[in-house]
Symmetry: C2
Subunit: 178 residues, 2 copies
């Protein structure tokens, strides 16, 4: 069986034991998480969240793109979200290529001009995360009093490390137990 058949069989089993049909639309923890699409991040597991507790927004990199901001505006303005987490992670695919390189590859593979596409690859994980926090903080349409936290998830250890915005630039506060 391929992934299509196997996941649909899995959904049959999921539906047979499903008991969450009563959950309301707004996330009960008033939380939205913006995270990378990476397969190694099961966001609910690494944050101990249950179904119904948080909006989860994901894209390549965990970036505060216009589309992620669209989702965050809807989450905060229409559905009660008061806290936003941004989660990037070690060994991210976005650290392994450059936009120019992918544009060239696409041109070679498709024959189409990809010069107008932006992939937002980056080389400094911490600086990139801080830029996303800034983009959210400075967005004119998100509530001023939102609680915002940024984290780097270590895919080798399963551990989150908070990266704090600060007047003096990047300061990291490890949340690891020692």
């Amino acid at each position: 069986m391929g992934v299509y058949e196997e996941t649909l069989e899995a959904n049959q089993r999921h539906a047979e034991s499903f008991s969450l049909g009563h959950l309301p639309m707004p996330p009960s923890r008033k939380l939205a998480v913006l995270a990378c699409m990476d397969a190694r991040l099961t966001v609910e597991n690494l944050l101990g969240l249950k179904t119904g507790e948080a909006h989860i927004i994901r894209n390549a990199g965990g970036l505060a793109t216009d589309d992620a901001l669209r989702s965050l505006i809807i989450s905060t303005r229409l559905l009660g979200t008061r806290t936003i987490f941004v989660i990037e992670h070690t060994d991210c695919g976005m650290l392994t290529f450059g936009d120019d390189q992918l544009r060239q590859q696409l041109r070679t593979e498709t024959g189409q001009d990809a010069a107008h596409l932006h992939f937002h690859a980056f080389s400094d994980l911490r600086a990139n995360l801080l830029a996303q926090l800034r983009g959210i903080r400075e967005n004119a349409f998100l509530p001023r009093d939102i609680e915002l936290h940024g984290f780097i998830y270590d895919v080798r250890s399963g551990r989150l490390q908070e990266v704090r915005e600060g007047a003096a630039g990047a300061r990291a506060a490890s949340l690891s137990s020692r």
Copy 2:
């Protein structure tokens, strides 16, 4: 304790029993799932996916926006994805407002002109899902031979229903056991 403290405590426990530090970057099922950010969808659970198996891309609505296409291009062209699922769902928040209404609300609440913002609210779930499938199918930079499936997830029953593209328009193929 608030959500910040509780989720970080949960991450401590997650890290203490973490055993997935060996997983490689590419998703092992060569699958990318584009789904709505809705709190009632725990995508891995409803598809029976394990950590490491699939890229998961999420936004308000589960829409094939330019940003979602950016993520899908990276997933397919750089990280081996061969199958894409799009999952929208019943009782979606995107069915409950209009773009004009939210723009007006934002103008009232922030004093800023929101006329340039697009939220992509929609009124017909099935038609909207088919439009996303078409957007992916017609994107010039995604591989021609990608396997693409669209589903509506019923938040009351936990069940996926496939919605198939077809020459005669929308045809639905229920995958429910009967």
